[in-house]
Each structure stands twice: as structure tokens, then as C-alpha cells.
């Protein structure tokens, strides 16, 4: 009970002292958010869980190198993001990923016809589109909304500039806005 109230730093210090069991608190703290991000990036439950397990093992094995210069979450999400990239590095997936690049999100808009847009519940539609976003967009949206991270922190994790993070975030939002506008228009016509 008490362990759950401790900060990440306190838990890490305890694990470093040899209390391996305390690492379970960190796993419980981050597993759902990291899993959601991985699932959106890899588009697959099984791969997401497998990669997440590797991430926690990697983080544990490298805990001695963690110097508390950044937040544990920043350090851990960098492991998660890089592991997802490694998983996706197989040729086929790389091509798919390149095809659905950050600059071109309109392939998503065209994949929904009027019937889909009108019939689908709005919350479900948003969720569906978010799950189909390209890798970087999915990562940025998840970290911004689910982790409530600042754009500077996201830029640090993805190793890109803050302005690039903002561009990715705005484009993803604008795509959803356009789809909702299209949906509203169809609803008015019907």
C-alpha cells in the first residue's frame, strides 16, 4: 500500500538497493500507458505486449545507468519508442510505415465513406482514427493526451524539435477536425 505512494525516484533507489520486488510498482504504474502507445504504434496487441515486456526488462537491466538527470517516464518512453521502431524495422512494415507518412494523413480521411461517418458513434470514430494514425502521430497524441506530457518532453523522447512535435500534433488534430466536419455535413444532408 505504502509503496504505491512513493515517487519514481524513491522506487528506483529501492530497486537499486536490491529490492527487486519494488520494480513491480513501476511496472503497474506505466504498463497501461506504454501499452496504449505501443498498440497504437504497432497496430497489434500481441506485438505491443511482447515489446512492452522487453522494454521493462531493458529498463531494469539498465537501471544502474539511469542518473536521474531526466524523469524516469522520459527515459522509459524513449526505450518504448525506440523498441517500437526496432520492431517495425522489418522491410514490409517499413514500407507500410513510409507510405503512411506524417505529411500525408489524407489517406485516412478517404478511407471513411459517408455511411461509416454518419453511423459511427463520434467517440468510437475518434478512437478508431487515432488507432490508425501513423507511428509518430500515434506516439505524439498518446504522450500529449494520455501522459499529459509537455511538447518539450515529447521532443526529447522522439529526438525531434519542439516545432516538429507541434506540427505533428496540429496535423493529427486537424485531420480529426476535418473528419468531424465532414460527418456533420453528411448528417445535415441526411
Amino acid at each position: 500500500m505504502m509503496m504505491k505512494n512513493l515517487t519514481d525516484v524513491e522506487i528506483i533507489e529501492s530497486v537499486k538497493k536490491g529490492n527487486q520486488a519494488d520494480y513491480a510498482v513501476l511496472i503497474d504504474r506505466y504498463k497501461n500507458k506504454a501499452f496504449t502507445m505501443l498498440k497504437r504504434m504497432l497496430k497489434n496487441d500481441f506485438d505491443a505486449e511482447e515489446v512492452l515486456m522487453d522494454c521493462f526488462l531493458k529498463a531494469y537491466n539498465n537501471l544502474s545507468t539511469f542518473k536521474f538527470e531526466s524523469k524516469f517516464s522520459t527515459w522509459f518512453y524513449r526505450i518504448v519508442y525506440n523498441s517500437a521502431l526496432t520492431k517495425l524495422s522489418s522491410a514490409k512494415r517499413k514500407i507500410e510505415n513510409e507510405m503512411s507518412s506524417v505529411d500525408d494523413l489524407h489517406f485516412l480521411q478517404s478511407s471513411y465513406n459517408a455511411d461509416d461517418l454518419v453511423k459511427e458513434d463520434l467517440s468510437l470514430l475518434v478512437k478508431k482514427i487515432v488507432n490508425e494514425l501513423p507511428l509518430k502521430n500515434a506516439a505524439v497524441i498518446t504522450m500529449f493526451y494520455l501522459e499529459e506530457m509537455r511538447t518539450e518532453e515529447i521532443a526529447d523522447i522522439l529526438q525531434i524539435s519542439v516545432s516538429n512535435v507541434k506540427v505533428i500534433l496540429y496535423r493529427s488534430r486537424n485531420l480529426l477536425r476535418e473528419i468531424i466536419e465532414k460527418r456533420n455535413l453528411f448528417q445535415e444532408v441526411i
Binding site: K31, Y170, R173
Partner: protein, 169 residues
């Protein structure tokens, strides 16, 4: 009012504008129905994105990770013990050789009366080691030791391979 582009609206939403820009966007939203509509839809998107719930891995995920971590620690501990055993054996062999060499040096010197008892003891001990590490015995001893090392190394490698395989599934 048309100069209120999507980027400005997004920045307004994130409270990422200067005071002047913020006022400009605010006035535009109030005065232009088109900008207002765009902003409201964007706000709706923002709210929906905020309300998306996180997903969870399998129920026993934490247990599985901890099990893997424990297995890794066991393997690491076994490796440590094996290395310590090898080091101990090496030290023992080196000590035996040093002892033998020491005995050879002592036995070549003239015994002093006061240390005659000690010399006798060391002579007996030396004889024992001399017989033990005699040409024939040394070969057998070395062969047995190498065989033990090889066998234990193989079993340790095989056990670790098996453990890794078990926990990767």
C-alpha cells in the same frame, strides 16, 4: 478574419500564443461564424482525445515480467558461483605449485637446529606433494581437473540455454 489559420487555432487551444495573438483569435472567434465553427470542432476533437481511455495488457503481465526478472537473477547468480568455483580451483592449483616450489627451495638449504622440527614437517608435507604431483600423478590430476571443468562448463551452458528457452515462451 481569414488570416486565423489552423495553426493559430491550435496554439490558442494550447494557450501557446502571445497576449496580442490571443486577443486577435478570441475576437475572430466571437465575430466570425466560420472561425467559431472551426474552433468549436477543434475543441470537440481535443475533448474526445482527452477522454480516450488507456488500454491494458494481459492481467498477469506484471507477474510475468517479475518472473522473467527473477529467472535472470538466478542465472546471473549461478554464473557468479561457477566463476567463483573456477577461480577457487585456479587459486588452489597455483597455491599447490607455489608450495611445491617453496619446498624445493627449502629442501635445497642446510637445516638450522632450531628449525629442525619445522623442516621435518615441511619435508614430510613436501614429500607428500612431491608424490602427489609426481610426473605420473600430475598428468592424471591435470586430466581429471580439465575433465571436471569441461563437464561442469557444459552443464552450466546447457542449463542456462534451457532456462532462457523456458522463460522466453
Amino acid at each position: 478574419m481569414n488570416n486565423i489559420n489552423d495553426e493559430l487555432l491550435n496554439k490558442y487551444l494550447d494557450d501557446d500564443l502571445s497576449r496580442e495573438e490571443n486577443d486577435l483569435v478570441k475576437i475572430s472567434i466571437e465575430n466570425s461564424s466560420e472561425v467559431k465553427k472551426r474552433y468549436e470542432t477543434l475543441l470537440k476533437v481535443h475533448e474526445h482525445l482527452n477522454s480516450i481511455e488507456k488500454e491494458s495488457p494481459s492481467i498477469d503481465f506484471t507477474k510475468l515480467v517479475m518472473k522473467k526478472l527473477n529467472a535472470k537473477s538466478v542465472i546471473a547468480r549461478q554464473q557468479k558461483y561457477f566463476l567463483l568455483f573456477v577461480l577457487f580451483m585456479l587459486c588452489f592449483i597455483i597455491l599447490c605449485f607455489v608450495g611445491y616450489a617453496f619446498y624445493q627451495v627449502i629442501s635445497s638449504m642446510q637445516p638450522i637446529q632450531s628449525s629442525e622440527i619445522v623442516t621435518n614437517y615441511s619435508k614430510n608435507l613436501g614429500d607428500y606433494f612431491s608424490n602427489f604431483f609426481g610426473q605420473k600423478n600430475l598428468t592424471i590430476f591435470g586430466s581429471v581437473l580439465s575433465f571436471i571443468m569441461l563437464i561442469s562448463g557444459y552443464f552450466l551452458y546447457d542449463y542456462q540455454k534451457h532456462s532462457k528457452k523456458t522463460f522466453s515462451h
